[in-house]
Amino acid sequence: MSDAMTAAKAKGREHWTEVKGQKIFLWQKRRTAGPERGTILFVHGSSMASTPTFDLQAPVGPPNSSVMDWFTARGFDTWCFDHRGYGRSYKGPEFLATIADGREDLSAVSDYILKTTNCGPVCAYGISSGAIRAATLAESHPERVKRLALDAYVYTGAGSPTLEQRRKKLDEWRSATRRKVDAAFLNSIFTRDHPGTGEDQWIPSFIEAVLALDDSIPNGTYIDMCANLPLNDPAKITAPTIIMRGEYDGIAGFDDLIEFFKKLPNPDKEFAVMPGISHASFQQKNHMRAYEILLSFFTRPEPVYKGH
């Protein structure tokens, strides 16, 4: 099952938990095949809810548009959830959805998953600001994170073309809690770095899925990424960690990520550059490379010898 192939579609199940009385939507897809390998928690980014990114059901194009289906066919129980401010979770107009808010969400979500399934520490994957949020879970609850994958991550923001552009609108982000999303904006995610990398046959389904859940999204992570980086302390991330960096991704300078990587204290760490990929690796033409890198990192044999 390590080769690219169409995964059997897993049947999804919704769950609900809450933070401060505000509801949070979770989506579970259980293992359909393969040896039992553990649980993955997928964490979404700034501009869309969870299922469009992690459980996209595209009727056309290459197989495996849902990374959750792909991993359930390879031995994993998989979960994603909508942060407050997104999708089916609480979306009060006052809610900004900062990274700190995301950390609270992750605390509640991981607590719910661990108690509901008794699965033990999870493999956590976050993309873009979802990676920043996932890293906060690893910092605040290291006992809940078995292995951590940070895709399209940014540390200090030094040398980031995307954030340089985004900062020009910082006053606009700060003047409201939410901003509109539309097809043109979502399409820009796939074209801003290097046109041609996105999986053209999936993008319409992706845009449709995002807009079915949200016509606006909160500004918290945009503000944090423009004004408040760094939001993670790599020295506090004790889980084995992989940095997944798209070749063309403008969200971070390469050296910024290398500096972060150097500071990670666990020697079980990897840095993978993904050829032909910009931002949003799971909706790219080369998505299989991202899936494979994640699978291999989450299934590394445990060390027999741990030193000293």
Binding site: V273, K285, R300
Partner: protein, 306 residues
């Protein structure tokens, strides 16, 4: 076949070629299982011939050699003794520099490609075998599909092992060969301040090394002490993985990350191997090294190439 386990032992074959009239020994273990994934050539380091590191047989233990393990996962596995080592030509005048090693790989790769019809090879080099493999890849990028550099060193800056080794540079330069012994081989296993090797297989390993050589040439030691860098990362145009043992003193992590930054192909990975010092394939955690190499060599080809 992704799980660690005992692979079916592949039956080995001897092959021979030559360079400048000097014979070169090659050892092949053909694919025993799995889909055909290509041809993999393992390149040995400074202080031992090829088969002790890559095809170690340790009866009565669960250890499976790298060549058997990869042969059971779809690879046609090859290795060779560089001139100066093992069963290859060992005239007393042979210094076996890194450049000589890249010349050997030219002849070896020609032979393998002619014998098997392979258009390109996967290369895995360990320690100075990484330097040899990389120099060969610089000279013949068209022959290398993907390149793995394990226990590699680039400039040598910040390397505790090389700082010690440099103290004996005059000694290395005074002759073409140096004697090796169990004490010396043990020093490789202890010099990084940990004992990360698998103690059950160490006796088999030492027997295998010393059955082939009671001395080894000094060329790579001299190069690593006096002539680094011998590789230019900008000329390595193929996909590359750097495999770095947590405790390996042969290079500083920053030296390797500087090298990694300069690799021009965006298909590149950097993996730190926990609990591993130098010589990953005979370490207690060798399964991690095998898994990293396997996953890198089996990455799907990008659909979009920019």
């Amino acid at each position: 076949m992704n799980e660690p386990g005992i692979a079916a032992r592949s039956r080995g074959e001897e092959h021979w070629t030559e360079i400048s009239g000097h014979k070169l020994f090659l050892w092949r273990k053909p694919r025993t299982d799995g889909p055909d994934r290509g041809t993999l050539l393992f390149v040995h380091g400074s202080s031992m011939a090829a088969t002790p590191g890559f095809d170690l047989q340790a009866p009565g233990t669960s250890y499976v050699s790298a060549m058997d393990w990869f042969a059971a996962r779809g690879f046609d596995c090859w290795t060779s003794d560089h001139r100066g080592y093992g069963r290859s030509y060992k005239g007393p005048e042979i210094l076996a520099t890194v450049s000589d090693g890249a010349d050997d790989l030219d002849a070896v790769s020609r032979y393998i490609m002619a014998k098997t019809g392979a258009a390109r090879l996967f290369l895995h080099g360990t320690s100075s075998g990484g330097l040899r493999a990389a120099l060969f890849a610089e000279r013949h990028p068209e022959r290398v599909a993907r390149l793995s550099l394990d226990a590699y060193v680039w400039t040598g800056k910040g390397s505790p092992t090389l700082a010690e080794r440099k103290k004996k540079l005059d000694q290395w330069r005074a002759s073409t060969r140096r004697p090796i012994s169990r004490d010396f081989l043990n020093s490789i296993h202890t010099r990084d301040g940990v004992y990360a090797v698998d103690p059950k297989i160490v006796p088999f390993y030492m027997d295998a090394v010393l059955a082939l050589d009671d001395s080894v040439p000094n060329g790579t030691y001299i190069d690593m002490c006096a002539n680094l860098p011998v590789n230019d990362p900008k000329r390595l145009t193929m996909p590359v993985v750097i495999m770095r043992g947590e405790f390996d003193g042969i290079a500083a992590t920053d030296d390797l990350l500087d090298f990694f930054r300069l690799l021009p192909n965006a298909d590149k990975e950097f993996a730190i191997m926990p609990g591993i010092a130098h010589g990953s394939f005979i370490q207690a955690n060798h399964q991690r090294a095998f898994a990293i190499l396997y996953s890198f060599l089996t990455r799907s080809e990008p659909v979009y190439k920019g």
